[in-house]
Amino acid sequence: MMAALLELKNVHTYYGHIHALKGVDLHINQGEIVTLIGSNGAGKSTTLRTISGIARPKRGQVFLNGKDITGMKPHEVTALGVGHVPEGRRIFPLLTVQENLEVGAWNVTDKATINARMQQCFELFPRLKERLAQKGGTLSGGEQQMLAISRALMAQPSVVLLDEPSMGLSPVLVEGIFEIIKRINADGTTVLLVEQNAQMALQIAQRGYVLQTGIVALQDSAEMLIQDETVRKVYLGEN
């Protein structure tokens, strides 16, 4: 079996006294789109936060390319090639769009590379090019999401963690964002996608995990999960 790009082994994470992750095991292979679905408070965001080092697991390990990254600081994890698009976009509101993108490429010192990557982002989201000199806080929700994704791509991560990219966006925009996620993946970036919109997430993902109160309740290929009865009832809203 091929070694996983990202692997979590029996990860336990706490927020104060709250036991948010109770032994999560999951892995993502190179080139995959994997989705994490689950209801509010199931631990989806916490899983991403644990991977990128914002939350520190109490027990268990996180491996990236076979290297133990448990307990590393967020900037160290980022330097190893993990991009994280946080929940709620978290654009720097007082930095311009250009500055937001430049901050995304923090570890890149070469100006020409930064410009080339910015051009790649404009190919994905032409709208951002018109907004370059505008402050991040003045963008619409959809534009902020585009900026958040672009900002993570500026570091050219090997795996990108997307936390609820469709939240608060109109259906048209959501479809656009999912198209982009497919394109990013086709260009070679591995994707770990957390979504409330399980229907759409399972359509673009190869595999999925269902989280329930901090543990992995189900894991399977996306096709199997779509057909699974509990998933259909609980997460896809069917009777």
Binding site: S52, G53, I54, K73, P74, H75, T78, A79, H84, P86, G88, R90, F92, P93, L94, L95, T96, E99, E102, V103, G104, W106, N107, A133, K135, G137, T138, G141, Q144, R151, A152, A155
Partner: protein, 394 residues
């Protein structure tokens, strides 16, 4: 939405232009012309405003004491008050920057900053004194001499601030907010007594007198004529203004025009997300402390040169006034610190010039009015004149 509504009001637009640094344009405009224009605009507006109030007072109280015509006194003193207001205002602005920069990244008031300012004054004294003892003070080029003293004070105060953050604040980063505040007050007491003890051991005296009298060009006063009025300008006032303008323009470039400045701004807006971008948040916080401390140190030594004597206790009052200035301008806002510092400095100069003519008042009541501003601002506009303009959308 917000911006389009603001655009309807031309006055607001003008104020906005002077208080929000431009993000586009040629570098010479963004980093040299704009900050200079901003400083000139702030000084002019404050001077006009305070002069208007002074003339209003002269109109309301034409003869506050027998045989003293306030109008005459205002006419005579106005240029002098404005000049001394500018120089003390720049000192306050430079100290206020330290409070505001640190508040920007950590949302924490560094109450030890007034002692970082004091240490800058002491280091400046030590360097100048040693140059004097070595006999070079007469032969050195004045620009080189002042630059050496100021840079030494900046470097040591900056490093001291970084050290304080590392040992006294960083371990308390996740503690309740009051705890680092108490730690800061402790550091402040420690530094005062440490400097006192050290100077008592080295010099047997902790009143440190700058050897400014040994220099011809620093001792005298330069007469400047304003119509019929002649004002004697102290050379140190000119040094303060030049030093402050140069460092403020440099700071504007650093914060708005460099990668590290961008990193500091990112950390101040969203620490967790800045970490996700690959920014070493702790390093940015240290850097912020360095820059803030360096400004405090420069202010300390310029203040020391101007006043002539530094003691270990000298930091408190200017520190609290600069804190008032930072709050007045809007804590966390760099432009606000400049505006607030100049306002407090000018106000103080006007009060010192005119309060003597009022019976039952006098110069010693100056500070009451300055701190009254702090109280009024905290009650009526806690976000300050320029506020912390974070229009976050969630």
């Amino acid at each position: 939405m917000e911006s389009s509504r603001k655009a309807a009001n031309p006055l607001r637009q003008l104020v906005g232009w002077f208080t929000t640094p431009p993000v586009t344009g040629h570098w010479s405009y963004r980093f040299i012309l704009y900050p200079l224009l901003q400083i000139i605009a702030f000084i002019s507006v404050i001077a006009l405003f305070l002069s208007a109030i002074a003339y209003l007072l002269a109109f309301l109280f034409p003869e506050p004491r027998p045989n003293i015509l306030l109008l005459q006194q205002v006419n005579r003193q106005l240029p002098g008050m404005i000049i001394s207001g500018i120089s003390i205002g720049f000192v306050y602005a430079m100290i206020a920057l330290g409070y505001t920069l640190v508040y920007g990244v950590l949302k924490f008031i560094n109450f030890a900053h007034s002692e970082i300012f004091m240490v800058g004054g002491v280091i400046g004294f030590e360097v100048m004194r040693r140059i004097d003892d070595a006999g070079f003070i007469q032969t050195w080029n004045p620009v080189l001499l002042i630059t050496t003293i100021v840079l030494a004070a900046m470097l040591s105060s900056g490093l001291l601030a970084v050290f304080i953050e590392r040992v006294a604040y960083r371990p308390l980063r996740n503690a309740p907010r009051l705890i680092p505040l108490i730690s800061a007050i402790g550091v402040s007491f420690f530094l005062t007594d440490f400097v006192r003890a050290a100077q008592a051991l080295i010099r047997n005296d902790f009143n440190l007198t700058y050897p400014t009298n040994d220099l011809e060009w620093l001792r005298g006063a330069i007469p400047v004529a304003f119509g019929e009025v002649t004002v004697n300008v102290k050379p140190t006032s000119i040094i303060i203004v030049l030093g402050a303008v140069v460092t403020l323009v440099a700071l504007n470039f650093f914060v708005n025009g460099t990668k590290l400045g961008r990193g500091i701004r990112a950390v101040s807006q969203d620490q967790a997300t800045a970490g996700l971008m690959g920014i070493n948040v702790n390093r940015m916080i240290s850097l912020t402390f360095f820059v803030g401390g360096a400004f405090g140190g420069a202010a300390g030594t310029l203040f020391g040169m101007n006043v002539g004597t530094i003691t270990p206790y000298v930091g408190f009052i200017p520190g609290v006034k600069a804190f008032t200035a930072a709050v007045l301008g809007g804590i966390g806002n760099v432009t606000g610190a400049l505006l607030g510092g100049l306002t407090i400095g000018m106000l103080e100069a006007f009060l010192q010039g005119l309060l003597v003519y009022f019976p039952a008042l006098g110069q010693r009541y100056t500070d009451i009015f300055v701190f009254l501003i702090l109280i009024l601002i905290l009650i009526f506009r806690p976000s300050g004149l320029l506020g912390e303009r974070v229009d976050e959308k969630v």
